[in-house]
Amino acid sequence: MRKTRLIARLDIKGPNLIKGIRLEGLRVIGSPNEHALRYYQQGADELVYMDCVASLYGRNSLGDIVQGAAKDVFIPMTVGGGIRSVEDATYLLRCGADKVAVNTAAVATPGLITEIARRFGSQCMVLSIDAKQIATDRWEAYTDGGRERTGLDVIDWVKQGVSLGAGEILLTSVDREGTRKGFDISLIRAVTQEVAVPVIASGGMGKPEDIVDAVLQGEADAVAMADILHYGRATVGDIRRAAQEAGIEVRNYEPA
């Protein structure tokens, strides 16, 4: 079994780290890179930066933030929000990102997934999906920071995205995001049973122990943590210990 990855997720609006509930009611938390450095020092395995309003305005403000992070954060970084072209992806990778996450533009132009994967490798191309439950065991993919319906069934879209070249899935439950109610395990499991690529479970982590069901029942390869870290309810170390106590294999990490 591969080591489960603990990923700190930083939602960005303009220069600020923000957090909402169900991707709405965005509240400013502080400086993204002060938080990034803290999570790096706590032993996060990766960082995800998402510019949650970039798609709405057709802009991308992440390049500067990622370049700043590259000075003192030395773990893999995934960057998403407002990426519309191979050129946008190229720019962010040059800024120090290791992977790019695409949602809205991939729904509009699925061929973009293939273009990015061919150019940089599938491991660079993360398909970001914001999922809202519409019936028992049925979810619809949303775009533009959880605002726009696509009519796409999440499972169908995941399978299509992987066949087009997505090397990883960032799966956000809009219903749970920011609610602290725990992950949507049935959503995670529905996706992990359908595709062979790694799935990052995002949305809903309320306490360190929530990682256990996401991994053991949902079979998530990684969990994204935001609210729980930003408000100091737990450290990455607390979550690592909760995983280890449940027998989940994580990176061996001893803080300096």
């Binding site: 591969r2 080591k3 790096y40 800024c95 120090g96 290791d98 490798g121 491991q123 062979a196």
Partner: protein, 217 residues
Amino acid sequence: MSRPEVTVIDYGVGNILSVRRALEHCGATVTVTADPDAILSSPRVVLPGVGAFADGMAGLCRLGLDAILREVAARGTPLLGICLGMQMLLDESDEFGVTAGLGLILGRVVPVPSTSVGGNPQKIPHIGWNALVLPQERENWDGTLLQEIKPGEAVYFVHSFMASPADPRHRIADCLYGGIRVSAFIGRDNVFGSQFHPEKSGEVGLSVLRRFLAPKF
């Protein structure tokens, strides 16, 4: 004490910024260049790289840097290849047909096996954090660039091909992928290769760069 100097070779492949920032964080003055004279006069050289072997070698050869890197190695200048830069140190690669490498470390570059020791299919590329272990014939990492690392500490990998050095003494560290030994760090005299990304492997990775920047190692 003055800051150690290091030259990072820019031959049009991949993300150099992260390598540069990591070296700077470790106290180095970094020059990013493809200029042969600057490379030859540098006290240490880093060869980064991601992507396909043939593209990487073509990029070096187009700039005449294959011969320059052999000269760097022959002069005894410390040379560290990272990821594709490590693989190019070997004699040749099987990636998309056989392509000659720099020939600085005896051996070949072969695919990471897509079947585990137990016969199960495993994902390629090999991506993620994996623990460094001692190769079969090595007892410790004393006196190597890994000397601050304890066996079992994890570093970050992204690769589909792996180096297979002909001389087991050149294997400094391995990792296990599906039970199969994958060479993670190799070295011969002043020439070193890291399959993992020291610039993306937290403090463990930075410790390798700090050793590389040290006046003596």
